[in-house]
């Protein structure tokens, strides 16, 4: 019985949150990696682009709520996804047309494009703050829990409760759906194959008649979908705050590089690596060991490897270690 209790503690406080956070990071990381693989630059506006899409979801949620439209027990924000994605894609294509395409046609070095993306980052951040302001916003409605701790205890008769939040399930389901559709698209359709060809060897792809404009446009469209959905899921699970989204760029980059930048499978996996490392290394294992060990051996301290203040620092340290020993990432990078 104690053993099951210990497992439940771990599930409740580490595995479930890590899976949720990992999915959110994974969506962002695939976004980074797609841009890097096909458009060939590190996009420093990543966090703010995700924030931009989420902003529309928040505003539309408020609008729908004022009109009395709801999605039953699911959050209204899910209804707004198509509209938010459309706005996001429009913004991305606009930015590409006015800013990035000039440097792409000139064949500027990737560094210059990265610097340009800094400018886009500033502008996007300004627009977001002017429209919605810098404050913290919660836009989750509908059922908050699928399974409450007390219900679980009654059902199983265990000491420890397992809480399943609806946002956790929504995040996992939506992520798996979106990512599998995307991988199917990249691997099985003709357009997807042409995108991979373009990523592998641009000149060869152009020779075989692939239209670069189309590839770029579809890349931005996929990126827009991933960025918006990733942002909305994060916002539903935690809350929406522009500054936090900007900061999320850092673990997302870490996830993309750890997985091997340019490789979507790697990025997907990297998101979970970063999330699990962050949560497992900063969790206080005292309760877990109280169940497992005999009473005489019970730990006095919190049994915490690192304080939760170092959450971010952990993902960055993993990144540094990976860069040192395997600069191309856990999976081989620069492929798509």
């Amino acid at each position: 019985m104690d053993f099951i209790n210990a497992i439940i503690v771990l599930l409740n406080y580490t595995v479930l949150p890590a899976l949720t956070y990992g999915s959110q990071l994974a969506l962002g990381a695939i976004f980074v990696t797609l841009i890097y693989g096909i458009l060939r630059f590190a996009n420093f506006a990543t966090g703010d682009m995700m924030s931009f899409g989420t902003m529309f979801a928040v505003l539309l949620t408020y609008y729908f709520q004022s009109k009395g439209i709801s999605f039953g027990f699911l959050p209204t924000a899910l209804l707004t996804i198509p509209f938010a994605v459309a706005m996001m894609i429009f913004y991305m294509l606009l930015i590409d047309k006015t800013v990035f395409s000039y440097y792409r046609i000139k064949k500027s070095p990737p560094v210059q494009l990265a610097m340009v993306s800094l400018g886009v980052m500033f502008v996007t951040q300004a627009i977001i703050r002017i429209i919605i302001g810098p404050t913290d916003r919660r836009f989750l409605d509908g059922e908050k829990f699928i399974l409450k701790a007390t219900e679980f205890k009654e059902m199983t008769g265990l000491n420890e409760g397992l809480t399943i939040k609806s946002t956790q399930v929504i995040t996992l389901v939506v992520t798996i759906t979106v990512v599998s559709i995307m991988f199917w698209f990249l691997n099985k359709t003709k357009t997807g194959t042409s995108m991979r060809a373009y990523s592998d060897n641009e000149d060869l792809a152009l020779l075989s008649g692939i239209d670069p404009k189309r590839v770029v446009m579809i890349t931005w469209i996929i990126a827009g979908i991933l960025a918006t959905i990733g942002g909305i899921l994060y916002g539903l699970d935690k809350s929406y705050r522009p500054f936090v989204y900007f900061n999320n760029m850092l673990p997302i980059f870490a996830a993309a590089i750890v997985g091997g930048i340019g490789n979507p499978y790697g990025a997907f996996f990297g998101g979970y690596v970063i999330a699990f490392a962050e949560i497992f290394l900063t969790y206080a294992y005292k309760r877990f060991f109280v169940y497992l060990l005999p009473e005489s051996l019970e730990p006095n301290s919190l049994m915490q490897l690192l304080s939760t203040d170092y959450k971010f620092a952990i993902s960055f340290s993993i990144l540094v270690v990976v860069l040192l020993f395997r600069p191309s990432g856990i999976f081989e990078g620069k492929k798509i």
Binding site: M121, F122, L323
Partner: protein, 456 residues
């Protein structure tokens, strides 16, 4: 002379703008903008050495700035004897263990050939060392942080003059740059950017959360100053006499004695803050000029030519027998040290160390905009970039407010759009800086003052 005409023109416009602020807003604001412009200029020079001379991207400016600030605390604050007596010995032991770990790993790396055994040995040393440190430092940290937490709760510094800390800040930053350079300089440009960005974040999070070191997010206030304090100035007779002399015509116009005294008091208070800022401005100007002379000399020396050769064609330079790895590391350390000095200057100017305020937006990305806008590879350009962008960054909000008021003048005071826009005026600085960067990148990619190669 003619080749410098655009430099002179650009600097005169900048100076005129600051003087306009002095005339229309206040001289105190103008001087603080001027001081911050100079601090930004020093940071920009550091980044420019790395990017402009050698083509290395360092997105870790924030980390070096924070280390420079930390140096001010560790050098100038008086030591806290109680904290040292309860935890000093343990902390020093931990430091010794860290040094021991580094040397033993170095020894192993040198003596044992690359093998699984070596990897296990190194990881064993690291794990044992970390456990030892945690066991030894844990209780000591608790004790140190318990010493008058509202006032101290940290080990304190060395109690030395604050100007000395500017040099120490440079050395701190150089030390970090050495480690980062060893780890990350082999990476491709955009990887290097991301790696340095994240390492800086690690440094700041350590400074933020290790309270025994510099109080973390509880901040250190009331740091020493290389300039006199306003309160002292307001009570010293020579200063009051000076102010009286300066404003003699204004004072003579008032007949009533009490009114005259009131006005004089007010003038003395204003003048004291301006005087302090002028002292800082003088100090900063000295630093900027010294750095400018050194960097200009370096840029046009054989060494500077070699760096440009490495930047423009690594393979060719390598074929000529130049050690690229070594030179990259050297210039990375040099640039970072200058950024560290700037960080120390900034904390000295503010008189307080607030680790919570170090954010990549303000301390990395804005500095990079300065480098690009000013002119990469040109020291005069770098300084100008620091001035222009900082000026925009500070003055964007009042400018935006003015424009908003002008555009919405026909709307009633209670109009929601108008209120919303007025409330969001501070965020127009991001818009202004972003659009400025995009325009410069598009139409003048070398910056306002482009790099000049003097043929000799």
């Amino acid at each position: 002379m003619r080749q410098y005409s655009n430099v002179i023109a650009a600097y005169s416009i900048m100076l005129a703008l600051i003087i306009l602020v002095g005339v229309f807003q206040s001289w105190s604001i103008a001087l603080s903008i001027f001081n911050y412009c100079m601090i930004s200029a020093v940071m920009t020079m550091g980044a420019n050495i790395q990017w402009g001379y050698a083509g290395l991207i360092n997105f870790g400016i924030m980390g070096y700035t924070a280390l420079g600030g930390l140096a001010v605390v560790l050098v100038s604050v008086a030591p806290v004897p109680e904290a040292w007596s309860v935890g000093g010995f343990n902390m020093m032991t931990s430091l010794a263990i860290i040094i021991g770990m580094i040397f033993s790993i170095k020894y192993i790396l040198k003596k044992i050939k690359k093998s699984k055994k070596r990897n296990y040995l190194i990881s064993a040393i690291i794990i044992i060392g970390l456990i030892l440190i945690k066991l030894i430092s844990g209780p000591a940290i608790e004790n140190i942080e318990a010493v008058e937490p509202a006032k101290f709760g940290f080990l304190g510094g060395l109690g030395m003059p604050v100007l000395f800390s500017w040099i120490v800040g440079g050395f701190f930053a150089a030390g970090l740059a050495f480690v980062v350079g060893k780890v990350a300089l082999g990476l491709r440009a955009d990887y290097l950017a991301i790696a340095t960005l994240l390492i800086a974040e690690i440094v700041v999070s350590i400074i933020k959360h290790e309270d025994w070191l510099a109080r973390g997010v509880k901040n250190v206030i009331g740091l020493k100053r290389p300039a006199p304090y306003e309160i002292d100035l307001q009570t010293s007779t020579w200063f009051i006499n000076l102010v009286e002399k300066f404003h003699s015509t204004k004072l003579a116009a008032i007949s009533s004695l009490s009114e005259k005294q009131d006005l004089l008091n007010q003038l003395v208070i204003d003048a004291s803050s301006i005087y302090v800022k002028l002292c800082f401005a003088g100090l900063f100007l000295v630093v900027v000029i010294i750095l400018l002379i050194i960097t200009q000399k370096a840029l046009y020396s054989p060494w500077g030519r070699m760096m440009r050769a490495i930047r423009d064609n690594e393979e060719a330079a390598s074929a000529m027998g130049k050690n690229i790895v070594k030179q990259h590391l050297f210039i990375f350390i040099l640039g970072s040290a200058i950024v560290g000095i700037a960080g120390a200057m900034m904390v000295t100017n503010d008189g307080l160390f607030t680790p919570g305020s170090y954010r990549p937006m303000r301390y990395t990305f804005v500095i990079w905009v300065m480098v690009i806008v000013g002119g990469t590879g040109n020291n005069f350009g770098a300084i100008l970039g620091g001035f222009v962008v900082w000026f925009l960054w500070v003055q964007a909000a009042p400018m935006a407010l003015f424009v908003i008021n002008l555009l919405t003048a026909h709307l009633p005071e209670t109009n929601e759009l108008r209120i919303h826009l007025i409330e969001s005026a501070p965020y127009f600085r991001f818009l202004l800086v972003g659009i400025g960067l995009l325009l410069i990148m598009r139409f003048r990619p070398q910056g306002i003052l482009p790099e000049k190669i003097i043929k000799q």
